[in-house]
Amino acid sequence: MFQLAEKQQPKELRAVYQETLMELMEENENIIVCDADLVNASGTGKLFRKYPKRCINMGISEANMIGASCGMSLTGKIPFVHTFAPFATRRVFDQLYLSGCYQQANIRIYGSDPGFWALHNGGTHTSVEDLALTRAVPQLTVIAPADAAQFKWVIKNTIDRYGMYYFRCARKAVPDIYSEGSQFEIGKGNIICEGTDIAIFAIGEMIAEAIKARKILEEYGISSTIVDMFTVKPLDEELVREVSRGKRVIVAAENHSKIGGLGSAIAEVLAESPIEAPFISIAIQDHFGEVGTQDYLQRKFGLNADAIVSKVLEKLNI
């Protein structure tokens, strides 16, 4: 079971990645760490110094990194591969698809800084479509860790599961949602808080925005359920139906394009159910990214608590 964080001690997610792997590599000699000339960006330098053989800098060659890692996995290695989200997905989509999933390989991919997290790297480095791409690949498990505690759990608890995994999250610290030591289940959503009027399904940093929005909506007499759908695929469809039943509005919130991401996944479930509540997608509208600060980009793309509140109020004619 999970417990919600009682106080905020946010930790950089790249530090979580490095520290968790440091722990795991000690006990599991099959773990290999690969990066495509972003070791300094992913903060895995300590791993490279401690395990120089098992850490491989592939250079700026992402296609070969995915392919070679998949090859290593066929002989029993468990590669953890990092690069920025756009280069971990759209740049290597065929490699991910064929050398990885179709081949039934066994690697973990950390696509960092999806959506607005590209910040001053700007539009060229912004991935608004990584979930759309990865969701479309059979047998790929797609996970958007909500915070440090969950990212750590995900890294540790997917080691013994054979298959292809894509983790998408920031390198920076995000607000703590869960307390350290919380337990989760791959493929199951987590009800963060319960309410009767609306349901907000969120991932990643949008969970914290949903929690802020919930407080504001309470002032209007609207009570909200918030669900962390950290496993975007396979989606916890049963929970989507269960939580949505009887709600006046259903919201999906994600740092991703509205096309093909969490919102689409939830809409697909709802479209096949008798549930008829209005649906709101809090997501990047069919736009490219651009440079900017986190606050600017969240406002620009409508990815904050204010955007959730105003769209819900509008839908409820309040």
């Binding site: 290999i32 250079g59 060659s61 296609a63 392919g67 090859g71 066929l74 002989t75 064929l98």
Partner: protein, 283 residues
Amino acid sequence: MDDLKRLSAKIRLEVCRMLKKRGFGHLGGALSIVETLSVLYGDVMKINPQNPAWEDRDWFVLSKGHAGPALYATLAIRGYFPMEMLDTLNDNGTRLPSHPDRMKTPGVDVTTGSLGQGISLAVGIAKSFQLSEKSNRVYTILGDGECNEGQVWEALQFAAHHKLSNLVIFIDENHKQLDGPTQEIMELFDLKNKLEAFGFAVKRIKGNDEAEIKKTIHQMFEVKNQACCIILDTIKAQGISYFENLQDNHHIRFSGESELQLNAAIEMLERKLKGGGRLGCFS
């Protein structure tokens, strides 16, 4: 006829039979690697057809995956699966799809087909054995047309940088790709020079000479701490003169003259092997 020449003839015959049954297929690129497959599976590779997943085996990656039928013929002759299964090439629900699929076919180590990807898988496998200090060797065959793919050069850099001398890379230089001569579609220039510039130990040999292929592989075993590559000078549709001379011989749909020529090739190979029945396990 020595054993390897006989095995080559068997493989070539079974490829022709498979494609005749189907009525179409990638004849050209399948036939140009026959002698290399014969040497690998008939002599050089450490394999156990009764236990395809044998931990100490050598691995083979057919990076030019469209030559799948040549690999299937080889695997069947070596006893990985019954010869009759060759008749199911590309049938609905088959275990022998056009391009090799490790989840479907006994003996296929790696799934390939999207050009450029097999070589990356091969370097990863070789790197893994190098890390574990295991003696398994890895063999892969690239097409020359496949070398158009940027990923090939990423993987070659990786092999050279990591000094993967446990990997033998073959480039089947049959001088043609789907749309025509490589020289016209995308000039490869001198592959030997290019590979040497990448830091490889390189040999360029006749790709239809089993003895030379075998000798060169053994020479490559002597190379330490350096990636190695054997460039095979071959002819697309090697071994059947009509198809060697046919302009578009990448993928052939057999009808009219080409069907007659395929039948004639089958008869010729059967005579050569002195027997028309399904050829049993090579040993």
